[in-house]
Symmetry: C2
Subunit: 320 residues, 2 copies
């Protein structure tokens, strides 16, 4: 019987992942543990443990149960990491350090037999401009946000602990996940979802950047697919490069809005109000716009191929 | 009067750097402090402080003196970091974390006015294969050694603390420094120097890899030049990409040996005995072979342009 641990298990993607695992025949009988600072009401089935990922003792306890698969999604988002420098490094980097230390302790105590699969949600924020038109699989990580630097440092640690056979890690550089359901979060990327979600629900939305901004998106459903695919991946074929750029949809905000118009009409589009926010615009201007993620595609990772499909996923999964 | 702190100040390059700074007119009256676990006899002039860089309290004390320039050369070498995993991460990564934390404390206490220049010796070990023929300035860091992963993680931290205006950092991805004077150290790259240095001194040398191995070299004199140039660099022009690939000489071991033959004759070459070492060969096979370091060259960094010049520097600086 396998044990699965989801760190940051209270978050939106984590909850969807947990629900998917709970209905997956291959996971029947698996023990699912979710750890986070808090959980939504009516959360996904599984053992909920409340605590702070930045507390090494808590992480030690969680790993002492020797989960076979650890999904590490715990993070504070880009906007908050930019505003609270110390907290960002503490949660987004040092927690990975303590997690890997805890895994090493169990690995050593097991005589080397405990080597959990660790699926880590990194981000395209590991990249910073200037960019080529499409970012390929060998482009440097030169982040221009604390969030991106923290994710990139985690990739390096996870890669080296994996090379040494202590963990068996995969870092997924997630596209911006869109359309996020529910309330806005503190991510600087939040508006990419807001300008679609709010109008679809008859609410006004604010657009803080010019509509010429191009960005890289995938749906929450695609994100859950990435995570499950990474959990089952033959990591030998990664040949030591365990951080992957993932497939997604490259489009401008204007193209997002045009897709919204086709799906929900002009009355939805009319609910969007341009309200420039220089802070958001500055952060987003340093983000990638397009990718050529050949490795991940060859490895079988799949995302949507148009922004209309991304909106359709929102309608099916959140408004059905 | 400026204050200069050299972390890892007992090492070979650090000692040469200290001597160069001591004779530099612009540094007249500067306070030079060297920190290391130990120092050579007849070391360079300056205040010697003995201690462990991995001890956060010691680092706090050193930074409390608010040095204007901090050269961070403290590290354990690649072979040792591979053999002692915990020690490698502790010295090569966590020490940077504590250093930056100490700088931030002083920065905050000074009301934001204390922003030291930090020159960090990174390494071409941040790169891992497969490689292009020449590594350009936007090639990914995918290290295949712990040493490389640790150096790369430090670059990310220093980059982000610099972006936030807490430090003013430059990371120098040093070529393999060759010909090192003195006794062999534990670096997997040690033989690149040994096969030149030992024969020049009438001693036998061991060659643990095939002579087809191609690698990237610069002299100790060039390394000191890189460090001094980085200390005076206008970092604004780096535009947030503070880790630099540096100029050097790309040549095979056979070409190194041929240069030795031209400088010191066949009797020197005859002192080299091929003695394959699979561990060394495996580590070195994951190292870069050639670069196209356009940014650093445009910024004025200079190295030798042939391996014969590198041998000549050894003869002038060590055997004169």
């Amino acid at each position: 019987m396998s044990k699965i641990l989801i760190l940051g298990g209270g978050g939106m993607i984590a909850q969807k992942l947990a629900r998917a695992l709970n209905t997956e025949p291959a996971c029947r009988g698996a023990e699912l543990t979710l750890f986070d600072v808090g959980f939504p009401p009516k959360g996904a089935a599984g053992t909920q443990i409340t605590g702070n990922i930045a507390d090494p003792a808590r992480v030690q306890d969680l790993v002492a149960a020797r989960p076979d698969v650890i999904f590490h999604l715990a993070a504070i988002v880009s906007g908050e990491a930019e505003a609270d420098f110390d907290k960002g490094w503490d949660i987004n980097m040092m927690a990975m350090w303590h997690l890997l230390g805890a895994i090493k302790d169990q690995h050593d105590a097991s005589g080397g037999s405990y080597v959990p699969r660790v699926v880590f949600t990194s981000s395209i924020a590991v990249f910073g401009g200037p960019f080529p038109d499409k970012i390929d699989d060998v482009f440097l990580s030169a982040p221009q946000t604390s969030y991106g630097a923290q994710k990139s440092a985690c990739e390096l640690m996870l890669g080296d602990f994996s090379r040494k056979g202590i963990a068996d890690g995969v870092s997924l550089r997630l596209p911006t996940i869109c359309v996020r359901p529910g309330l806005p979060n503190a991510a600087a990327s939040g508006f990419f979802s807001g300008i679609i979600r709010e109008p679809l629900n008859g609410q006004k939305a604010i657009l803080p950047v010019p509509d010429t901004v191009r960005h890289w998106h995938a749906s929450p459903r695609a994100a859950v697919g990435f995570l499950r695919h990474a959990a089952a991946l033959d990591t030998e074929v990664l040949e030591g490069r365990r951080a992957l750029n993932l497939p997604g949809v490259s489009c401008t905000v204007a193209e997002q809005i045009e897709a919204l118009r086709r799906v929900a009409g002009q009355k939805a589009v009319d609910l969007i109000t341009p309200t420039p926010d220089p802070t958001i615009a500055k952060i987003v201007s340093g983000w990638p716009r397009d990718f050529d993620p050949q490795r991940a595609i060859a490895l079988g990772f799949q995302a949507e191929t148009s922004f209309e499909q991304i909106i359709q996923v929102y309608l099916e999964d959140e408004m059905a």
